[in-house]
């Protein structure tokens, strides 16, 4: 059974639906990458899973339960985490406090998880007392990922983690995502750097108009001439 499975998900912000039947299945060992043109419903899919907009049709099964329209404070303890694209750190709070907020739903001792995050992002350990708002874009992205990992998720969702970063940092963030996945965390992410992200994706989804257009492994999608022509810029 898949870790998360979306079946014919329909949803939007109250007006006309933005998602018109999205299907998706991810295992815990997978890195899933969603690509597609602007307005295809990529970010909306992640937000629908995380209960940030209304799902009016279909099911979202996570851990064997239909979690459609569940709210984050119920989903986070179940093992789901989300890194929004923008404003994804508490700028006035220190790096360490940001991480603590990611562990808000945990009642147990989370110091070992914090050590694990600092091991993954050594630069954050150096800046643990610094306000997150003073960090560079790449370091902020690490804080955001670190925060989301503090709840020990089984599935980490990222909305365009490479947006606005310099090419050097893009590669670094992608390498980190692969490393996190190797540690046993399933990944589902939306990416604009489609070709680069699909290269390491075990599951690739091309969305258009709120529906799946192509599904396959990342390399398969890159090799598909139709996908390459219409969605990857030739």
């Amino acid at each position: 059974m898949a870790l998360i499975e979306l079946k014919h998900v329909v949803g939007g912000y109250g007006g006309a639906p933005i998602l018109n039947g999205v299907n998706m299945a991810i295992e815990q060992s997978d890195i899933g990458v969603i690509v597609g043109p602007n307005g295809a419903g990529k970010s909306t899919t992640l937000k629908a899973i995380f209960g940030l907009l209304r799902v009016t049709g279909g099911t979202i099964e996570f851990g064997g339960r239909n979690v459609a329209n569940s709210l984050p404070d119920a989903l986070v303890p179940m093992g789901l985490s989300f890194v929004p694209q923008e404003k994804n750190v508490f700028t006035s709070m220190s790096v360490e406090e940001n991480l603590e907020m990611g562990a808000f739903t945990r009642q147990d001792d989370f110091s070992d998880t914090m050590d694990w995050v600092y091991q993954m992002f050594p630069v954050l350990a150096e800046k643990r007392r610094q306000p997150a708002g003073e960090l560079s874009g790449g370091q902020r992205q690490m804080v955001a990922m670190g925060r989301a990992l503090m709840s020990k998720p089984t599935l980490l969702m990222l909305d365009e983690p490479s947006a606005g970063l310099s090419p050097r940092y893009v590669t670094e963030i992608f390498e980190t995502i692969v490393r996190v996945n190797k540690e046993g965390v399933g990944i589902l992410m939306v990416e604009q750097n489609a070709r680069q992200a699909l290269a390491f994706a075990s599951r690739g989804f091309v969305l258009a108009n709120g529906q799946n257009r192509f599904t396959g492994t990342g390399p398969e999608l890159i090799a598909d001439p139709e996908v390459a022509k219409s969605f990857l810029g030739g």
């Binding site: 709210l71 984050p72 404070d73 929004p84 508490f90 006035s92 907020m101 990611g102 808000f104 709840s151």
Partner: protein
């Protein structure tokens, strides 16, 4: 030397008393703004409400024949804080929460809070009448006189017992609030939600719980501030409604959403007001001896007449909004 003592009595002590009241009120306004993003206009009346709760409890103590060494207004304070906090939670549940659930915009909530203002004042007038009364139900106020003759002063420095307790209580509450916001899990969650409400939700923070905690803190501090104001002036239905403007000014000058800013802003506005209405002739009178004939200081040399005290807060507010709209500490006034 007497001039300095006069200055300490009239400016330093009065300013600190007023500053404590403004600061405690402004903390509530700034926290509510930070978490719920609306200007809580009824905050002054929540203070008045707290003062009347203290009054009722103190009267009950007096009626029971209990005589205490401290002013009863302070003895009943912990219980009054709890009751006012519960009333504040009730106000939120009854009036603001239903509006938020329907996605009302901040301006709608502001208007609703004006309605709450009228309602609280009306209820207090209905129950207690519109007259002025003293909150010193049984105990008279002690006055401590510090003899200053050892440095050549002929007058003493006067601090009343309530004023002294006021300073201690305010200091304790500020330290407690600081520890709560920086050390406790819920306090940090409160700062997180004020910083970025969407991300707080995404992190799985129980935002409804944070909202409740905010009302509890704002309500109990309003109770302390209101009781202090009643001890300093007198108890009346529009007690704290009259100082809503300086309290808002304090919160904005300090940086909306920033608790420490509210404290600094509260004392800043209080001292500015006190200094502005202070009669400087009282201090500068010795100059008359050295000034040439016909240039003696006028009898009253206050910058602002007492009845226009409120304009001081207004002027500081306008200057802040023009020069540094985010406040002294960078607040979330967007």
């Amino acid at each position: 030397m007497d001039e300095l003592i006069f200055f300490i009595n009239r400016v330093l002590i009065s300013g600190t008393v007023l500053g404590s009241i403004y600061a405690l009120g402004a903390i509530g306004i700034t926290l509510i703004f930070g978490i719920l993003r609306f200007a809580h206009f009824a905050h002054g009346d929540m203070m008045t409400m707290g003062a009347f709760v203290s009054f009722v409890l103190a009267s009950a103590l007096a009626a029971a024949g209990i005589v205490l060494p401290l002013p009863t207004g302070f003895v009943v304070l912990p219980v009054a804080m709890i009751i006012t906090a519960i009333l504040a939670l009730g106000l939120d549940k009854g009036f603001y929460a239903p509006l938020r659930a329907r996605g009302a915009r901040p301006v709608t909530l502001l208007i609703a809070s004006i309605g709450v203002t009228l309602m609280i004042q009306g209820l207090i007038r209905l129950i207690f009448g519109s007259g002025t009364r003293s909150i010193y139900v049984s105990a008279p106020k002690d006055i401590f006189r510090f003899d200053m003759s050892w440095i050549g002063g002929s007058r003493p420095i006067n601090i009343t017992e309530p004023q002294l307790i006021m300073f201690v209580v305010t200091a304790l509450l500020v330290v407690a609030l600081h520890l709560f916001l920086t050390r406790s899990r819920l306090g940090k969650a409160m700062r997180a939600m004020a910083d970025n409400a969407d991300l707080a939700q995404v992190s799985g923070i129980n935002t409804a719980l944070v909202v409740r905690v905010t009302w509890v803190i704002a309500g109990s501090l309003a109770c302390v501030a209101g009781t202090m104001l009643a001890l300093d002036v007198a108890l009346m239905p529009d007690l704290a409604f009259n100082i809503v403007l300086p309290i808002f000014a304090a919160a904005i000058v300090g940086g909306l959403g920033h608790a420490y800013g509210a404290i600094v802003g509260g004392f800043l506005i209080a001292f500015a007001e006190t200094l502005a209405v202070f009669n400087w002739t009282a201090v500068l009178r010795p100059l008359n001896n050295v000034l040439p004939e016909g240039m003696a200081l006028p009898a009253n040399l206050a910058l602002v007449p007492t009845e226009y005290k409120l304009t001081v807060a207004f002027v500081i507010l306008v200057i802040t909004l023009l020069v540094r709209p985010t406040g002294i500490f960078k607040g979330a006034s967007t």
